[in-house]
């Protein structure tokens, strides 16, 4: 993971090159620890992500469950990563934004 920061009610997470079987559990736990009481939305910035396997997708599903109705959104996935969400049809339930600014909630 490259870093995390809070902006208003958003928790912005910049993910690194790979989200996979080997780093998914640690990544998930690190993100959960940063969720504050007033966090209304987790924004996962995928700009740098080059590889993601199903364990990586599982991290996102797990965060959705953890947020209990609050939002988890994705920003700027590379085409190969966007295709994963298209094939799995998860793009039907996860919002994907081209830029961080568009994803932010006030």
């Amino acid at each position: 993971m490259l870093g995390m920061n809070h902006k208003g009610n958003n928790l912005i997470v910049r993910l690194g090159e790979e989200l996979n079987y080997f780093n998914s559990t640690a990544t998930k736990e690190q993100i959960k620890q940063q969720v504050a009481e007033d966090t209304e939305q987790i924004i996962l910035s995928l700009t740098e992500v080059k590889r993601m396997d199903s364990s990586g997708v599982g991290v996102i599903i797990s965060l959705i469950k953890f947020m209990e109705g609050k939002k988890v959104v994705l920003v700027d996935p590379q085409p190969k990563i966007a295709r994963i969400f298209e094939i799995t049809r998860l793009d039907q339930i996860i919002e994907i934004y081209p830029t961080l600014d568009e994803a932010l909630i006030e």
């Binding site: 079987y21 199903s54 599982g58 599903i61 965060l63 799995t88 049809r89 998860l90 039907q92 339930i93």
Partner: protein, 348 residues
């Protein structure tokens, strides 16, 4: 059986000292005087521990250490580098090469025997786990690959990424119909394998259509997976073939194919993965089918080896069924796998 320790050191005196101390502890000692010999003995004798001098003429210990760590597959093989006591620079270089520990020169008998014992204990723990996984692989294969419904001309590939697989292939016959089901549980390894065992147990083969089967499976799996935030889900595709029709439905799974001579029809999943939400209705698609047509289902591990476009190109090539199967098998041989891979191809 005695544990084998390979000592790689160009100094005969040092090797002699290692041998003396280690044999007193009951270990079998193998000696190599340079990296090249060390490499040969590594492959020939499969030692349990390697003690490696860093400074040797020709290829040095760092390079051999890096080679071992990059190329030696499971189970864990400890490499201890032998360096001067306060040589911080070499220790950092050694850690970067993947070394597991260091021994200081001049050699101290107590330090050597304690470190050897500790490293061998860690290896043993890894070995136990590794053998358990190998056994689990055999169990899973015998549970999953029921060949009673496999006919001549069918093709199955079932390749776990880490001994056990999160994939499940099922092929069965009912009332003159041929059914195929391929599922892929999130992740790899033992946790995914447990989910795939649950999928197998929950699969109701008496359902009358693929959509009904997936709908029921989704509801049952949701109940199992809902009380945690582990993020597990299953993608899957189910097909039912009769003499003149193919009916299919899928959830979050890579598109399978119906191959008819020079035409390829993708079998696209239209629904979310299985087990994520409580109620899902799986839309079915109906396609005409003839005896020569080939139904191909696979898990996304295949897309780690070739892109969807390359797969379509391969399936559309002039190859006959046998040649195609050989080509697919060849693709996986020696490939560096990053995911479980399974494939099922059959005709009516």
């Amino acid at each position: 059986m005695n544990k084998k320790v390979l000592v790689v050191d160009d100094e005969p005196m040092n090797r002699e000292l290692f041998r003396g101390y280690l044999e007193m502890e009951g270990y079998e000692v193998l000696e190599a005087s340079n990296a090249e010999e060390g490499r040969e003995l590594l492959i020939l004798t499969e030692p349990d521990l390697i003690l490696l001098d860093v400074m040797m003429p020709g290829e040095d210990g760092f390079s051999l250490c890096k080679f071992i760590k990059e190329n030696w597959q499971e189970p864990f093989l400890p490499v201890v580098l032998v360096t001067a006591l306060h040589d911080k620079e070499n220790r950092i270089k050694g850690l970067s090469a993947g070394a597991d520990d260091f021994l200081s020169k001049p050699l101290d008998r107590l330090e050597l025997t304690i470190k050897a014992r500790n490293m061998l204990r860690i290896r043993e723990l890894h070995q136990n786990l590794y053998h358990e996984l190998i056994f689990a692989n055999q169990v899973q294969r015998s549970l999953f690959l029921d060949h009673s419904s496999v006919k001549q001309g069918d093709f199955l590939l079932y390749l776990p990424y880490r001994q056990v697989s999160g994939d499940l292939i099922e092929l069965w016959e009912k009332d003159g119909e041929r059914w195929g089901f391929l599922a892929d549980a999130t992740g790899h390894g033992p946790s995914a394998a447990l989910i795939s065992v649950a999928v197998k147990a929950l699969l109701n083969k008496s359902c009358s259509s693929p959509g009904e089967l997936l709908e029921e499976l989704n509801e049952k799996l949701y109940r199992l997976l809902t009380n945690n935030d582990l993020g597990y889900y299953v993608t899957g595709i189910c097909v039912k073939a009769t003499a003149d029709e193919l009916l299919f439905a899928g959830g979050g799974h890579p598109a399978g194919y119906l191959k008819n001579k020079n035409k390829l029809t993708p079998l696209v999943s239209k629904q979310l993965p299985i087990g994520l939400v409580q109620k899902l209705s799986f839309e079915e698609t109906q396609l005409p089918l003839s005896k020569e047509d080939l139904v191909i289902l696979y898990s996304d591990g295949l897309l780690e080896l070739l892109s969807e476009q390359e797969l379509e190109k391969l399936l559309l090539s002039e190859k006959n069924k046998e040649e195609l199967y050989q080509e697919l098998k060849k693709l996986t041989q020696g490939a560096s796998m990053r995911d479980d891979l399974s494939l099922l191809a059959f005709s009516f």
